[in-house]
Point group: D2
Chain length 342, copies 4
């Protein structure tokens, strides 16, 4: 932490800051400048709370210098993580494709999409049995029956199941029936739920909150890992801005930023990010070009009859065309692995 004193701070003000630093057991490093004094703090193990200084007389600002990251940090684990999910992996050279309908509706719908997804070469199937809906009067998902249908998809098509849990009961059931527990954007800072999935042994797909900074996103992953579960996959799904031509603003620069700071894989959900069918294809390609480890895409055989978010689902033929395009693009952008990984 760096304490910046006001131009008119007195020597007594500076002495008091130094005293507080000493009381906390840290070292102070005063730097007298032309116009004002700055005081560096070292010797702290974790983050120093700015509140210790911000309201002291003569203090202009207290600036945080280091980040409170541990387990997610690339400094500690320089190799990129490859996460095992069911009988496949996420984070390696192969582009991860997770596709399926927004919500599990009927066996016919689920199996029709699963067949398309399976034939296209994807290893993962998505579909919500519990749906976080803005209105309490909107369709809330099929619940455990939906999860059972997803388990049948795995048995029949060999696809690994990624599906959302919204509470502890949901986590228990997804652990039982699925292969990867999705934590939705609205629960990214539901810290109780993060701790709970941190105690499971299933990999977790963590979606970025609608207004989460990079720091908050990474610290949400740190919450899960701090409980012992290190198998976390990050997912960018658009942030909330003033923009109104798409449902959210897809923030692709977060991909290289995440990859610089952490060893965790990051995928993109262009369907929820854009909310519009015609934007999914170009944003999927842009995600791969930016270095994403994979994509999560909604596919529906009959979007106009979908119970949830039909406007953004690709038709099966659109999805198949997209996967072919992505395969070529992945060859151009596959990340060079600087250090060996298992």
């Amino acid at each position: 932490m760096l304490i910046v004193m006001k131009q008119d701070a007195t020597q007594a003000d500076i002495d008091r800051v130094n005293e507080v630093i000493a009381e906390l057991g840290f070292q102070s490093h005063p730097m007298p400048g032309a116009a004002r004094v700055a005081i560096g703090i070292t010797g702290n193990k974790g983050a120093v709370d700015r509140a210790h200084f911000e309201n002291l007389s003569g203090v202009a600002d207290a600036i945080r210098v280091t980040k409170p990251y541990k387990l997610i940090s690339r400094t500690l684990s320089p190799d990129k993580s490859i996460i095992k999910v069911g009988d496949a992996t996420i984070g390696g050279d192969e582009l991860t494709m997770i596709a399926g309908p927004c919500a599990v509706e009927t066996p016919e719908q689920v199996f029709e999409v699963a067949e398309v997804v399976s034939k296209s070469g994807a290893r993962f199937f998505r579909g919500g049995a519990y749906k976080p809906r803005t209105s309490p009067y909107a369709f809330q998902g099929r619940g455990e029956d939906g999860l059972k249908l997803l388990a049948e998809v795995r048995d029949q098509f060999g696809l690994n199941i990624v599906t959302e849990a919204m509470d502890e009961r949901g986590v228990d059931l997804v652990e039982k029936y699925g292969d990867c527990i999705q934590i939705g954007a609205r629960n990214m800072q539901n810290f109780s739920l993060l701790k709970y999935v941190g105690k499971t042994r299933k990999p977790v797909l963590l979606k970025r909150g609608m207004s989460a900074t990079l720091d908050e996103f990474l610290l949400a992953a740190e919450y899960i890992m701090a409980e012992g579960n290190h198998d976390v996959i990050l997912c960018e799904r658009g942030i909330r801005t003033f923009g109104n031509h798409a449902r959210n603003t897809l923030d692709l620069s977060v991909i290289p930023a995440v990859q610089k700071m952490t060893h965790l894989p990051i995928i993109v959900d262009p369907s929820h990010a854009t909310g519009k069918n015609y934007l999914v294809n170009p944003m999927a390609k842009a995600s791969v070009a930016a270095g994403a480890d994979g994509l999560m895409i909604e596919v529906h055989p009959c979007p106009e009859d979908a119970l949830c978010d039909g406007a953004q689902a690709l038709l099966p033929e659109q999805y198949i065309e997209l996967t072919a395009q992505l395969r070529l693009m992945r060859e151009l952008t596959i990340p060079v692995r600087e250090t060996a990984s298992i």
Copy 2:
């Protein structure tokens, strides 16, 4: 819903839209304009999903016209609600003051603040026993021991206790020890938790999410009310924007907007909204001037030693001065009650 056709939409496109409207059991009202056709939809009970239309050939836009509100709506309950919390009320003529430390730390700290709060005339005490912290390594609250301390404050000072629950266990404990269950901004769309508190019989203080629109905020309240608990108090606590001179941007225009649309009371938390001591006083006054039903304010005897958010806490003497100013201001702005309420 209004369907706007493209300028080059064919008659077949229009016919298909009319067909889909008929299949859904609604009535269509075509309006041929100079350049394009628009088609109104009536006969629907709730919201119509745009997905039915958005990807049909020839459709330019599908515009939602009515809002999916029921229980919160002022149309249904024109009288403003007055909510009973412990032995006091929120939403009536008296300005509600909820004050106390950010987190429950020690008995000394809690009782010292409680004495100040009680003497100032407030009827409510706040203090967190469970703290949602961005980092898993930050102080997470005293838990049930903290709640017991808060219950002692009620017994000793006659203050009603408002405190946060982050999960179902927390709700059960706050129901046992406290008077009002606070749902934090990060859990505003934790729909499982909203449903759970909707089943309790304690009033709920619902904080606006950091990037929640007015609609999303009101529908979160609707989630609680739809389960049977109609005692919901809304709380504006700042939204996330590009601004960086305060922690969040306090959105005071939401007060009259909420009051126009719903009968629920709304209070403001200027401490969390601004994150800075010197901004709390002016923003508290502005909240009352804008018509807020009350305020939630952090007070700490020694902010530089606070375990959490000390930078924004008022000193006891600052808090006492503020309450005197607010009392005068309330007299100028007390809302005229157009219809009788109990």
Copy 3:
């Protein structure tokens, strides 16, 4: 500036940073910490460009410590400025009221409103002769004829005229006919125009840009003052956020923040900030409660016939009622002047 080195930075990396600091003629202050080294820089007169350091090997971050403010700074001019505008002042104890129609339309409209504004006790009249409109096909203002009408208002009612200029020709004309040159939000970073008004001798009302941070807002004022014109009045008019219940989000916390950092007066335009008639009254009161030096309010005798922004204009009777309320509120919130000012 503070340079934070990476944990794995080598001594050679550190030496190179020290070299660059020396090359620039500054002093370096290395602070070895437990995990990493930080290097303070002193001896610089103005801001140090981060680019000198950000891409050097081993550098994790380059953090700016001091702000590039000069003339606006309260450190240099501790007394609050009182700006003379025509035959009145802005920034003193009296609440400034600037009222009038959005756009100058007809003599009847202008004089009808001017009579109301004058009788209410305001000293300033507003009205646009040049209108910045999003669409090129929308009404663009009456131009010089509009300015002549405004000059007649001054002659007839003794009101000082505040009106917008959008380019150099406009500035020349407003200088000729008006008393205060308004620079609109869309031109807040039109640096050529800022320099041009900086050379005039008329006071300038500078509106905050829709996405301007506090720093950018203050530096826009610094642009004007750096050219010699120190008579700048700041105006908050709402920022752009995801919120959609009002046209913009009025950011009232900027008032105390501005007053802490600068000696310039700040007023609020709740009409443009909210875009809705029913929000103007509560937001005007909140602005005064937060310490604003004045308000800019749109008034129109027949809003549904207004050529521009009618939805937000107050009716004359609404405006008169509001001014009475604001007068009482101002008495409660009038800022205590710590030091003498002329």
Copy 4:
């Protein structure tokens, strides 16, 4: 426009709305629904001002249905525009590369970069002679001398010059020395300047404002075209959000959205959008994958000595590597041209 009446609107309210519609010379189309009445308006040539209706008794909302676009609209010009700039074109099959330093500094710097840019196969050179800087004390550009240097670059290397003008004098000089007039993000709604460049005969590169919606961006282009200059190239350069890992948030979904609505070409500036060297390469690739017509990239031989924005400039060797990658990627994503264009 669609007028939505309140549930408790009276027949007199509805009659008054119909009257106003008739007074304006339009047709009204009432649609009685289960709970409320909606009234469609047709017969209008341009946009209807909501102010005519929003404050009428019984009106809940006035919803705009059609957009005030004319010249930019794809409905009128279904073929994509190919814009001639100097002796090259923008908008065709070839990916446009505009590269060069942020600011023109010295002849050595300019020629060194120009040689790299020319050898890489680009047809356009960028470099600012007039720099919009947040602080009045930052380097403001070399002015006309800088433009003369750019003209020499064209003569010597055959590169077409794209450079910013900040006011009318600047436009005149860029017209004289350059090939394409750049309007910066801060001037996107400087309507006087837009009209002025609309009267020149040089193509205009229009950058999106930091908080411009798609509508506002397109209407800024419409301003230029309405004056007779149809040679407009749009440029996405990042929008302002709460995000802080990059300088701005690059909004790539605007590319397909622009291409759906208008015939104008759109390029991307990943250097200003991200502000960080390591983000430029992935974001440039993502832009091409999303379908951008070109890129604008900053290159500097010695970024740590740059007078402006060095942190984001690519080194010459980084730029050369990037262009090779982009060439391969363009082949995969080149847009299929549905209709013939000259």
